[in-house]
């Protein structure tokens, strides 16, 4: 069993199968209904999406389930191979090459784990539309939008996504000059207040509030500008970036060490 799970043949088959499934996913995005279904996966935790999607169309849930299953198997395959083969070899041979090779796989496992955990754990609330004076309540968290500072007439906010994208140049829309003044209150934690800009979110600890876009709404009395917010809570974000960074570094080290096959790599001496 261990031999099977640590085999390179299994890795090869799993990687090929995952590539085929991902490619199938790109084909799905060519169909408007399926594309919308895939995009909806971003709006909530995956288990919540799964239950709703299953009732509407079985294709995407089956695709996702297969992808998760194969990725889980790849995780097990990498874990077993790393511990049973690579670690044992690294301890025996003790070269930088062996250790960097082992570390790439460990960091890859961490990154894969973080990808998985981001799907099912934490909190995710997207497309929260707020206007000045609005208060958004979610459990113990309260978000108050005091004011919005928006320079210009917001002409491009009236246009569709493509036209709007063309008009939102650096000259037309200065993201640092356009912001919303927010107040975050969460149970016993200190109140956070400040401006929130596009690409400059605010939050504390694992909580993160991001301004995804400005919107324009006509409420009958005239047009008013509002914001679209996303609230997420994920305890693994920093860990993910650190592990991802280390994976890149370890891979770069491995490439450098093994660049010239004729040069013997330095041995790591104990102590």
């Amino acid at each position: 069993m261990i031999r099977f799970f640590s085999s390179l043949g299994l890795t090869f088959v799993l990687l090929l199968s995952i590539v085929l499934l991902l490619w199938l996913g790109t084909v799905f995005t060519l169909f408007p209904d399926l594309k919308q279904g895939i995009e909806l996966m971003n709006d909530t935790l995956i288990q919540n999406w799964f239950m709703t999607a299953w009732k509407i169309n079985w294709i995407l849930p089956v695709w996702l389930l297969s992808l998760c299953l194969l990725s889980g198997l790849l995780f097990c395959n990498t874990l077993v191979c790393s511990l049973v083969l690579q670690l044992v070899t690294a301890l025996k041979v003790k070269t930088l090459r062996r250790w960097s090779f082992f570390m790439i796989h460990i960091f890859f496992l961490m990154v894969l784990f973080c990808h998985g955990i981001a799907l099912v754990a934490g909190e995710k609330k997207t497309n929260i539309t707020m206007f000045p004076g609005d208060i958004y309540q979610a459990g113990k968290l309260s978000v108050t939008l005091n004011s919005i500072t928006f320079n210009g007439d917001g002409e491009f906010l009236r246009l569709g996504p493509k036209k709007s994208r063309e008009m939102m140049t650096r000259k037309m829309f200065d993201r640092r000059a356009n912001f919303a003044d927010l107040v975050l209150v969460e149970d016993d934690k200190p109140t956070i207040r400040g401006p929130i800009k596009m690409l400059e979110p605010m939050g504390s600890g694992n909580l993160r509030v991001t301004l995804t876009k400005f919107i324009l709404q006509d409420n009958g009395e005239g047009e008013r500008i509002g914001v679209n917010l996303t609230i997420t809570r994920n305890g693994f974000t920093t860990f993910f970036f650190v592990m991802y960074g280390f994976m890149i570094i370890s891979l770069a080290c491995f490439v450098a060490i093994t660049w010239n096959p004729h040069v013997r790599t330095g041995r790591v001496t104990p102590g």
């Binding site: 390179l8 043949g9 890795t11 090869f12 990687l15 090929l16 995952i18 590539v19 991902l22 490619w23 996913g25 790109t26 995005t29 594309k35 895939i38 995009e39 996966m41 971003n42 973080c114 990808h115 981001a118 995710k124 997207t126 994208r165 063309e166 939102m168 140049t169 650096r170 000259k171 037309m172 829309f173 200065d174 993201r175 596009m198 690409l199 400059e200 979110p201 993160r208 509030v209 991001t210 995804t212 996303t230 609230i231 997420t232 994920n234 974000t237 993910f240 970036f241 991802y244 960074g245 994976m247 890149i248 891979l251 770069a252 491995f254 490439v255 093994t258 660049w259 096959p261």
Partner: protein, 256 residues
Amino acid sequence: MKVQIPFIVYSAMVVFFLTALVLGLLKQVRWGKFVGFLGSAACGAGVTWLMFSEQRLPLFGALESVMYVSFVLTLLANFTLPRVEAVCKQRLTLVTHGVICLLLAVQATRPMAFNADFFMYDNLWVNLFFNLRLNAAGVLIWAAILFIVGVWFCEAKDAKKTSGRATSDRLIHQGRNFLLAGIVVYLMSEWSGSLWCLNWLGETWQWSRGFLKAAIIFLLAMIASHLPISMGGLPRAKALFGICPGIYIFFMLFQH
């Protein structure tokens, strides 16, 4: 004027690289190299003009991708050539010019203008994400070229000689080196992209066509590095899987 210059640069690239390819096929090595160098200078001029006029790095969009990737490719082909015999270097240059001509041919039907400006282009992570991806494309395509020429040497009658086989092995090993180096650059791009996604949408990644395609590139490189023992010793199998990331990213440049 601003609209015309990219077209002039593109035309110059077509003339120089096509001539270099023809000269290479006619075995006019020195002239081929010289004209190829002029093509490289044209790419460099195009990239410099883009950075000057648009006040940003080359990011995405067919024309600027073609210019920048061609520039990276010619730099790699000139400065990172492995220590191999002259005929092998000639073939590498020939295939590189052929690939650039192919890039230019695909671009022919597309708009001859740079990517329109966007307010997010003042953000460091946005710039790194897109620009590093173009760099990775250049390195991965160069890796694919090394694999192709490596197999070409292995298959050709030169391979009967011991040096032919050794050259083929060296090229395939270099292909593997650049494949992994390309993936390092690609992952750096993805890391920056994750940070951009986090600051914009609140998450480190999102389900989208772009994400699925990006994951495929990484997995294709992983497949090439995890060939079963039965295939690992076959130069053809190594080359076949090694060129896949380069080919995939080649077409990704035109489908944003």
